[in-house]
């Protein structure tokens, strides 16, 4: 089939099914209508097998320079789900489609190939996934820490739910309150401008009320 921009949701779905056959599944398309004119926006979600993930991105890159918004990731219990949020059809008013590719990584084997060679802008988000989820991005050109400081514990990942220890690491600055609460110190001599201002406003309001009181009609 010949795919020409702008694609429709069905075309996108077909395109991926054609290219990757059984390795993509769980297609879910959404259309959300917004505003008075009920203009719809379209999203498409699907899962791709990790082994074919790069092929999927490559396939996407054949259509249009892919715009990778971000990759989000979450701990789903037994596996970790990465969602790559791509956009396609940008530049065509109202036609843009969000393509959300999900990849599931089992907790025992958290490897995912890097796509920085296809989408140079993906590096930031890949590095981020490494440090926050403990995912290992293979062939990543730069695997340094991105956000966390260098001496952040190596085995702690803030976005994982199966980890002990993040709770201790995060300070609970406000928590000591009820028991250890000291009386606040004596009132610091404040100046009068606030009251003054209040008075001024009150008088203004009164005036206004007076004005309002006189019915217009």
């Amino acid at each position: 089939m010949n795919y020409e921009l702008p694609l429709s949701v069905e075309e996108v779905e077909n395109y991926f099914k054609e290219k990757l056959e059984d390795d993509v599944n769980d297609f879910k398309t959404e259309e959300i209508k917004k505003g008075l004119k009920e203009t719809g926006i379209e999203l498409i979600w699907f899962t791709v097998k990790r082994e074919r993930f790069r092929d999927a991105v490559k396939a996407l890159a054949e259509l249009q320079t892919p715009h990778l918004s971000v990759a989000s990731g979450s701990d789903m219990g037994e596996n970790i789900e990465l969602i790559y949020h791509f956009q396609i059809n940008y530049g065509y008013p109202g036609k843009e489609i969000s393509i959300n590719m999900k990849v599931h990584l089992p907790k025992e084997d958290l490897n995912i190939p890097s796509i920085t060679d296809i989408v140079p802008g993906a590096l930031t988000t890949e590095r981020e996934k490494q440090e926050f989820l403990g995912v290992n991005v293979t062939n990543i050109p730069d695997s340094r820490r991105l956000w966390l400081e260098d001496d952040f514990p190596k085995d702690k990942y803030p976005w994982r739910w199966d980890h002990e220890g993040m709770e201790e690491m995060s300070k609970y600055v406000h928590s000591e309150d009820d028991e250890t609460f000291d009386k606040p110190i004596a009132k610091y001599p404040r100046k009068k401008e606030i009251e003054k201002k209040k008075n001024r406003q009150d008088t203004m309001e009164e005036e206004k009320k007076k004005e309002d009181g006189e019915p217009d009609e």
């Binding site: 966390l148 400081e149 803030p158 993040m166 690491m169 995060s170 300070k171 609970y172 600055v173 406000h174 928590s175």
Partner: protein, 147 residues
């Protein structure tokens, strides 16, 4: 510390964001622009802590900024006053339970630091000027000028 009267009337200010949400920071900039014009009190934003008399700290101090906050404090010549702008600098405010927060700022600074807290989230530019005014009063008290 030698705090003559002139000191409060020529305050040079160094602004440092240690992880705030920028709202207070833009309000600080707003305070020097025409509507509020802090320069009429001799307040001047300077580019180096070495020139500063007043440090405006905002933000709950992220882990990565902690050392720099302290360094800036040390680099500033005495006498100096710290103005903590915004609730997130004062108590860490809305960012109270993160692994990446070291604050609040006043717990990091030495005991004898002169700190004025300016509350608000964000603080209005007038409140920043008000904070400077409080700093004056504070300094006058320190000197014993308040009778």
């Amino acid at each position: 510390m030698d705090l003559s009267k002139t000191f409060d009337k020529a305050l040079w200010v160094f602004h440092m964001n240690s992880g705030s949400c920028n709202a207070c920071d833009i309000e600080i900039v707003a305070a020097i622009t025409p509507r509020y014009d802090a320069e009429r009190f001799g307040i001047k934003l300077v580019g180096s802590p070495r020139h500063a008399d007043v440090l405006l700290f905002t933000g709950p101090v992220t882990t990565k900024m902690k050392d720099r906050v302290l360094r800036v404090y040390e680099q500033t010549p005495n006498p100096k006053v710290v103005l903590i702008i915004g609730n997130c600098g004062d108590t860490t405010g809305v960012f109270f339970d993160s692994y990446a927060i070291e604050g609040p700022i006043d717990t990091l600074l030495p005991e004898d630091a002169h700190i004025i807290y300016v509350n608000g989230c964000p603080v209005r530019p007038e409140n920043i000027i008000n904070g400077v005014k409080e700093a004056w009063i504070y300094l006058e008290k320190l000197r014993g000028d308040d009778k």
